[in-house]
Amino acid sequence: MTTTAEKTRRINMTQVSPEVYKAVIALSEAAAKDIDPDLAELIKIRASQMNHCAFCIDMHTADARKRGIDEQKLALLPAWEETEGIFTEQEQAALALTEEMTDLTRRHVSDEVYERAAEAFTERELGQVIAMALTINAWNRIGVTTRLPLPKR
């Protein structure tokens, strides 16, 4: 078994590609406008779970708790489709869209899922939900590829 310490050390994007790093931070700021912060955390955690980004899951579950998101919601998030009365319709529509956007290798973004989101959100809100989902997908790719070290808390 390999311990974390034995795993290959990887590059630090803030040092080798600082313009890219800054651009992703600017992208995050653009995506964070006009979206409910609690909803944004759920989108970020769900995508990070699917993409297996340990650093991102850790950061955003901590952020979600600080924002006062229910422990039960966080625990049930990977199985949100099986729950009733826990997630709002907006949350469910955004989570379904986030999952399909994250899973592009297997399928498209179906009309059913797109329309559910289009009914629950205004066009501006929907654009920002899409922006949030693709931005966390970008961070997930950086976090996993460079194996961002996890702070112990």
Binding site: K7, T8, R10, I11, M13, V16, S17, E19, V20, K22, A23, V24, A26, L27, E29, A30, A31, K33, M50, N51, H52, C53, L97, M101, T102, D103, L104, T105, R106, H108, V109, Y114, A118, E123, R124, L126, G127, Q128, I130, A131, A133, L134, T135, N137, A138, N140, R141, I142, V144, T145, T146, R147
Partner: protein, 155 residues
Amino acid sequence: MTQTLENITAERLKIYKTSPELYEAMMVLSNAAAKDIDPELGELIKIRASQINHCAFCLDMHTRDARTHGVSEQKLDVLSAWEEAGRLFTERERAALALTEAITELGDGHVSDDVYARAAAVFTERELGQVIAMAVTINAWNRINVTIRLEPAHR
């Protein structure tokens, strides 16, 4: 060469109008990712990720851009099977493609030490950072354009 995204038909949402800051931020990111990377290699990364993510608009744009950059028809034809193509692709191209595939397919696994080390062996740290940036950025464009169902221009 570069199409104006605002003028192209999206079957679903005109996201570049509803979220103009997103479009601006994505353009800044694309420009940052394009520095210090060979443009031909950049196109191969963009096409391979777009194949895996099934982004029709992105495939159309980047196969055309690749031809403009002089990437050979044979490389474009065989790209989705590059691992089986022997020395048609250089070691740098193969290392970057293997890394791009791993970065694109996070749902199925991690970015393995083997794939990472292969890329780290043929690129400087700066180059490697920019290869990763290119793969991350095209993945973001793929997600936008698939979600809003942007149509490739008929030509």
